[in-house]
């Protein structure tokens, strides 16, 4: 019984980090989505120059640990631009996630049969019109399962922003553990919160998948 009381007290303390975690995750996912969709389009439909740039971004960023990107953005770049730790961490996480999302959307764009582009052009659509109204709506549906996976990964990667001093859920758990010397209770509380967040994300995305499934 005492365990549960401790757990509730701990949860109360850690909950203050919940909004930070949610905020970081949402910013990172949105930034990553923009980077991902744009880069994937450039990579699949762009000219040789843009294809090259998109490939370099995706390959290099995926080769570098996210924590290094956060470090560079906050300690090197933010010497010249005044970025708060929250924004530095979230943007860096989004920049990194963008590279992974590039690959997700590249796969999705390429999975749309190429005949559709030919057909769209044949009825007089421009390339951009075809991408916009024929390819993209289908690609988004194809990308959803992979994107949902990335969303849960970003949620867990949000623990990394503490490296620049943003107190999210896991750091709050560490603080409790350091004070009470009961790591099990502290991390169990963090585990419950992450589990709840992940389940929620998964549910939401499954609903989206069902809602927008193509009726064949």
């Amino acid at each position: 019984m005492e365990f549960f009381q401790d757990l509730v007290t701990t949860l109360n303390f850690i909950l203050q980090g919940l909004w930070v975690t949610i905020g970081v995750t949402i910013v990172a996912l949105v930034v990553g989505l923009v980077f991902g969709v744009v880069t994937a389009m450039l990579r699949v439909y762009g000219n040789a120059f843009f294809q090259r740039i998109a490939t370099v971004y995706s390959v290099i960023v995926r080769a570098v640990p996210v924590i290094v990107i956060i470090f560079i953005l906050y300690f090197v770049i933010a010497r010249f631009v005044n970025l708060s730790p929250f924004w530095a961490g979230s943007l860096a996480l989004g920049f990194a996630s963008g590279a992974y999302q590039t690959e997700i959307f590249r796969g999705a764009f390429q999975s749309v049969p190429s005949g559709q582009m030919v057909a769209a052009r044949a009825i007089g659509m421009s390339r951009w019109q075809a991408i916009q109204s024929i390819i993209f709506p289908q690609a988004v549906r194809l990308a959803l399962p992979g994107w949902g996976n990335e969303a849960t990964l970003v949620l867990k990667d949000s623990t990394l922003v503490f490296v620049v001093g943003v107190p999210e859920i896991l750091r709050r758990a560490q603080q409790v553990s350091a004070r009470t010397l009961e790591p099990f209770v502290a991390y169990a509380a963090a585990l419950l919160l992450y589990l709840a967040l992940t389940l929620l994300t998964t549910q939401l995305l499954q609903w989206l998948e069902r809602r927008y499934r193509l009726q064949m």
Binding site: Y74, F75, V76, R79, V164, G165, Q175, S177, R179
Partner: protein
């Protein structure tokens, strides 16, 4: 194109492997107290030079000093149920802020990020039970120590040994944590001095393992950091025979940006003042430090 990619990646790996071989191996000089000697991740960067007019003027103009800590090291720094920073270091830095006439803003960061943060000017100072090791001293400047590190001789609860000075440990089966300054002290002052045969010295990876062997009677004495030894002794039913400064090297200091000489002079003066008027002693006792 494909071949080029293979060639490039192979070259890169070979180059990195070679440069790693020629790099100077890091001296394994562990910190006696405080948290482990943190890796300064962004240490390649040259420190940002102190601004015109000096760091001290900058702080006074801003009306606040931003201090980084790693709030997971009670009783030095931790966060209480209400989210307040508490502990010896926290009380001390507030006392220092008062003397400086500025507000103190405390930022919680991982221990490993602190040096980089002060180098890059993200924070003005670090107070985190940090010792001015030689490696750290190359990256940042340190104030005079505000608290000397102390060591404890720990024995079994029913031990009849009497240790009044460190040399009384001569000829006893003694243990310490591998690679610590305590182990170094035993080697230099007991073994090399011919007081204790080398086969009576035991080396442990962790302090709690050593404590178990003390309780079991495999070793008679354990020499370790004083602060963690108190909780450890309580938990494992051991007793502390002597707490001493004689075996420890150095103390805990505040880290400030490299070249901030005006800030260092002012902080040194304030720290000395707080030591002399007994404030440091008072804060120490209030936080249960020996």
């Amino acid at each position: 194109m494909k071949k080029l990619g293979w060639l490039l990646s192979t070259l890169l790996i070979v180059l990195l492997a070679l440069s790693a071989c020629t790099a100077v191996p890091q001296a394994a000089a562990p910190a006696a107290g405080g948290e482990a000697a943190g890796g300064e991740t962004a240490s390649g960067e040259t420190a940002a030079p102190a601004a015109e007019g000096g760091k001290l003027a900058e702080i006074k103009a801003a009306g606040k000093i931003v201090v980084g800590t790693s709030a997971d090291y009670a009783p030095y720094e931790s966060i209480d149920e209400n989210g307040n920073f508490v502990g010896f270091d926290m009380d001390l830095i507030r006392a220092i802020g008062e003397k400086l006439g500025v507000e103190v803003e405390i930022v919680d960061m991982p221990f490993d990020s602190l040096i980089a943060a002060v180098q890059q000017g993200k924070i003005d100072a670090v107070i985190a039970a940090m010792q001015a090791t030689a490696e750290r001293d190359q990256q940042v400047d340190f104030t005079i120590p505000y608290r000397m590190t102390k060591d404890a001789f720990v024995a079994a609860g029913d031990s009849t040994l009497v240790i009044e000075k460190p040399e009384d440990a001569a000829g006893k089966r003694i243990g310490a944590q591998t690679g610590t300054v305590q182990e170094g002290w035993i080697q230099k002052n007991l073994v090399d001095a011919g007081l204790t045969p080398a086969d009576m010295v035991f080396s442990y990876e962790r302090a709690d393992q050593a404590a178990l062997d003390v309780a079991n009677g495999r070793i008679e004495l354990l020499l370790m950091d004083a602060e963690p030894s108190i909780a450890l002794a309580e938990e494992t039913g051991l007793k502390i025979l002597l707490i001493t400064e004689l075996t420890a090297e150095g103390g805990k200091s505040i880290a400030i940006p490299d070249g901030a000489t005006d800030l260092k002079a002012e902080l040194d003066r304030i720290i000395q003042e707080l030591i002399d008027d007994g404030t440091v002693q008072k804060i120490q006792e209030a936080n249960g430090l020996p």
